[in-house]
């Protein structure tokens, strides 16, 4: 047994645990901590913990380059910019419209459209231009093949779903529904382009292969999550069923009923205006 190799491997596992997995745990812990209390310092500390976790995850390709998991940190660092642009842009567009509270200036709408558009173009540039997340020259980050098809397909599906919901359940929402059909169509066209037009590092065949893996992935997530919710419901149901029935009180007596009737009668009626 090569003890030196084992020690080295243990060392790398420990480094990955310390510099990747602990920061990963810091993000939900920090968010939970910030939301669990109304105290301002607790909220700030929680947010700082989550932010520090995010920074350490993004830095993992440099801090633990030997760990394959650090590729996820690399992807996070690559997509956080365009995703924030898209989400902030949508936020600006939404709150510069007709909202009763938290209304932003009308000029923020143009800025929002520009931000959301440039964020989307940036993401598209990662497929068809030189912006593709690469772990080494000409080596595409494998998690990019997970993120991009999942995002495009689900956006198209959800936008189409939202458009039909606005049409069928909403009241006079045809214009909004058309906007959502447009978003769905744009996502679908980008998806179809990805299937047929090669980028400098990502071919259509690769994209097609990973698209159906993304479908399998999403189906698996839905099935697994539903199973766990079912088990959760069963655990609660079996516990509640095992509890003794709550104590019942005796029905009201005749005198109590008479008293209630008298009380109600004294409050009924009223004068005409």
């Amino acid at each position: 047994m090569n003890i030196q190799a084992l020690v080295k491997s243990m060392d790398e596992v420990f480094k990955a645990f310390l510099l990747f997995w602990i920061p990963v745990a810091m993000v939900p812990l920090g968010l939970w901590y910030s939301m669990s209390s109304s105290n301002k310092s607790t909220t700030t500390n929680g947010r700082f913990l989550a932010f520090l976790g995010l920074i350490l995850i993004c830095a993992s390709p440099w801090t633990v380059p030997s760990s394959p998991s650090s590729a996820a940190g690399h992807l996070l660092g690559a997509i956080i910019g365009p995703c924030m642009l898209v989400l902030l842009g949508i936020y600006l567009i939404s709150f510069s419209g007709n909202v009763p509270v938290g209304k932003l200036p009308r000029s923020d709408r143009k800025l929002g459209v520009f931000m959301a558009g440039s964020g989307f173009v940036w993401l598209a540039g990662m497929h068809w231009w030189v912006l593709t997340p690469q772990l080494a020259p000409d080596e595409v980050n494998p998690y990019w093949f997970v993120f991009w098809p999942t995002f495009l397909l689900l956006t198209s599906c959800l936008a189409s779903c939202s458009a039909v919901t606005l049409l069928t359940i909403g009241d006079r929402r045809r214009a909004e529904s058309n906007a959502m059909f447009l978003v769905s169509a744009v996502s679908l066209i980008v998806l179809l382009l990805g299937l047929n037009v090669d980028g400098p590092l990502v071919t259509g065949e690769q994209f097609r292969h990973h698209l159906w893996l993304a479908v399998a992935d999403m189906a698996g997530i839905v099935v697994g999550s539903l199973l766990s919710i079912l088990v959760f419901a069963l655990v609660i149901y079996s516990y509640e069923r095992s509890l003794p029935p709550p104590k019942t009180i005796s029905p009201p007596s005749d005198s109590e009923l008479d008293q209630v009737s008298a009380l109600i009668e004294s409050h009924l009626g009223g004068e005409e205006e």
């Binding site: 978003v183 766990s228 516990y239």
Partner: protein, 158 residues
């Protein structure tokens, strides 16, 4: 009659959700004469790994939620233990099934490597799902707020 209308609405919504992938399949069959690009063995492996990982991680999340459930019910131990065993079952099933051979092993050499890959893969997929949901909800909201405000008189006139 009202129930039938509701059922039709739900079916339409579900169909709208499935429309984009169905369109891609239809275009593939129309243009290429077959449905290409899918490797059923690899897709099944991914589906099974995603199912096991989602079950385990979601159970772990729900186990955490049981603490809050317990808070309002004098902290009963039984549901906590039940959910703990359900989570452990997920971990054991994942380890056992991955250890059965190449069926659930993707490009990884060991059970530990595959399990860690599954968790990281789930984080990336969840991130993509989160961004897509935010985009769809955000655009729906912005489409609604970009319209002229409706007055109560409009509704009364109808």
């Amino acid at each position: 009659m009202k129930q039938t209308g509701l059922a039709v609405t739900w079916r339409l919504i579900v169909l709208a959700f499935l429309l984009p992938p169905l369109l891609i399949i239809a275009l593939d069959i129309t243009i290429f004469g077959s449905f290409k690009g899918i490797d059923s063995a690899e897709s099944f492996t991914r589906f099974a790994n995603a199912t096991l990982t989602a079950y385990t991680l979601c159970s772990l999340f729900l186990l955490g939620n049981l603490f809050f459930y317990g808070e309002s019910r004098n902290r009963p131990l039984a549901p906590l233990v039940g959910m703990f065993f359900a989570t452990v079952l997920g971990v054991l099933a994942t380890v056992f099934l991955i250890g059965q051979g190449s069926m659930l092993l993707e490009d990884n050499g060991s059970v530990q490597a595959q399990a860690i890959y599954n968790i990281v893969h789930m984080f990336v997929s969840s991130g993509a799902i989160f961004v897509a949901v935010c985009v769809a909800l955000g655009v729906t909201f912005s489409a609604i707020t970009s319209q002229k405000p409706r007055s109560d008189f409009d509704l009364e006139e109808e």
